[in-house]
């Protein structure tokens, strides 16, 4: 296995596409380049029933490639999905989003609002956007490129926008049936929420990383999947679709600057 024929970004995109495998006919929303490419790949290779938008206001029957398109390119529009309608759809639960939070805690609670004290934050970011409603109503996955203890924090995130499996926040101990956190893909591994009581669990390690390395870079204890293995290498078909159909402009090359090899064993 000397030298990989795929990059770390490609490995992550292919692993993240798995999030939508068993979803059927839901809106796949990939927020940010890697999640969007993953959703596109899922639609083209795993689950063609997925709904998808052009990242603006239209539903498209085929994923729209990233970046500059050929002159005369017209997406195959199959419906209209303005913001107002997106909320109507998501409150019914027929969506699975993959988002890129800045902080995630052991309960899966996530933050894109502020870092630091809420009233006088060190860094003001976007605001909660739709995280509270999304996480209550439909499945969510995450892509967190930089796997560090600053991203996967001890205690709770600084502003709980995306809700999670924190029993203290469900006073009667009953969590809503739709609270459904699925996958977390990072530069080091793929995780899910299938540990005891939804504990975050390492599901597969990217080639060349160890569980200890993942644990050392995470601010809370992780569970280990039984028979923990390696994140599967992308198939030639997946790589072809990704490189030639979804991302001919190689936007993915900018995701992990300077640390791009998918196979990191020396």
């Amino acid at each position: 296995m000397a030298g990989s024929n795929y990059t770390l970004a490609e490995l992550c995109i292919v692993a993240a596409a798995e999030a939508w495998r068993h979803d059927g006919e839901v809106l796949a929303s990939g927020i940010g380049p890697v999640p969007r490419m993953a959703a596109s790949l899922a639609k083209l290779t795993i689950n063609p029933a997925l709904l998808m938008t052009d990242a603006e206001a239209f539903l498209v029957a085929k994923p729209v490639p990233l970046g500059r398109r050929q002159d005369g390119y017209e997406p195959l529009i199959e419906g209209w999905m303005p913001y107002a309608r997106t909320f109507e759809l998501l409150w019914r639960g027929r969506r699975h989003a993959m988002v890129g939070p800045v902080q995630v805690d052991c309960y899966g609670q996530s933050n894109i609002s502020v870092v630091g004290d809420y009233r006088r934050p060190k860094a003001a970011l976007l605001g909660v956007r739709g995280f509270p409603g999304n996480t209550y109503h439909h499945p969510n996955s995450m892509f967190v490129p930089t796997h560090t203890t600053r991203a996967f924090v001890a205690g709770e995130v600084d502003m709980v926008g995306g809700i999670g499996y924190n029993p203290a926040r469900w006073p009667r101990g009953v969590m809503p049936p739709w609270l459904d956190l699925r996958l977390i893909v990072t530069e080091l591994c793929v995780m899910d929420f299938r540990g005891p009581a939804h504990q975050i669990r390492v599901r597969s390690l990217h080639p060349g990383t160890s569980f200890e390395q993942v644990q050392d870079n995470t601010g809370f204890p992780l569970a280990i999947a039984e028979g923990l293995g390696e994140t599967p290498a992308p198939t030639p078909e997946a790589l072809m679709v990704l490189r030639e159909v979804i991302d001919p402009n190689n936007v993915r090359a900018g995701v992990f600057k300077g640390r791009s090899a998918g196979e990191r064993r020396a």
Partner: protein, 318 residues
Amino acid sequence: MEAREGGAFAAGYLTPRPALPDSGSGMLDKRMSVEEIVGRLKDGMTIGIGGWGARRKPMALIRAVVRSPLKDLAIVAYGGPDVGLLCAAGKVRRLVFGFVSLDVLPLDMHYRAARQAGAFECWELDEGMVQLGLRAAGMRVSFLPTRVGLASDVLRFNPWLRTVRSPYEDGEELVAMKALTLDAALLHVTEADQLGNSVILSPDPFFDDLFARAAEHTYLTCERLVPTSVVCGRERARYNAFERSCVTGVAEVPFGAHPTAGIPGYGIDIEHLAEYNAAVGDGFAGYRQKYIDLAGHAAYLESVGGAERLRAIRAPVF
């Protein structure tokens, strides 16, 4: 549900409106200048701003607000450079929002600076809650129930938000999203007539209809002011997002959404937004002098490169 103190209609929902003066036999004429519109706003008002992020924001009106002596405004918005400019000019007492972003440039530096300095009262809500609050105001009910916000810090950091228990068998506890009643809404549409009929021809009308209905007065800027026979018609009637009875005033301002997008017509001026974003702190005085404190809209268009340049800005590729 129990009536609140003072009775269910304490908020004045059924207060009879004073009779309007006879509108006479002449045709309604709601045309106003940008300065006239801003002249009708008052210190301390709650003002909703249409559009979304860096798209179809009524920026000519926002620049006029920045030039005006108005202060202590409560702003409700799906925030973009409208919010950033008002923050930079120190106009914002309270911000009711789900996010502030320049789309292609994710973060607005003027908003960030004000937020980090604790410069305004922060009503940070899920975007869907903003929508429900506007809808409640338009329906003249004091709240709408939702699950959005439960178990998140939105409830913790907005202690004015209350929950309500379902009176039906389920007995579920829900968030009672409070009505976001607006004194005024500022919107930018594609075309309008002098009666206040309008169409939004860009791909997404966003929540402009809800802003219009939540507001006591709605003021429009439009790319083109056209006769009634042109503005709507059978073909375009579905792009008419709200009826003219919501509208108090309308001003023709070509490129009135610049530097945000006014599709069809012009895309987001990323180059300008980058300059705007860099003009944070001490740099804002220079930006303001160059682009805001100008004699009129013609001078503004000239300062940003002229109509030809703006027309050539294509829609961003996402």
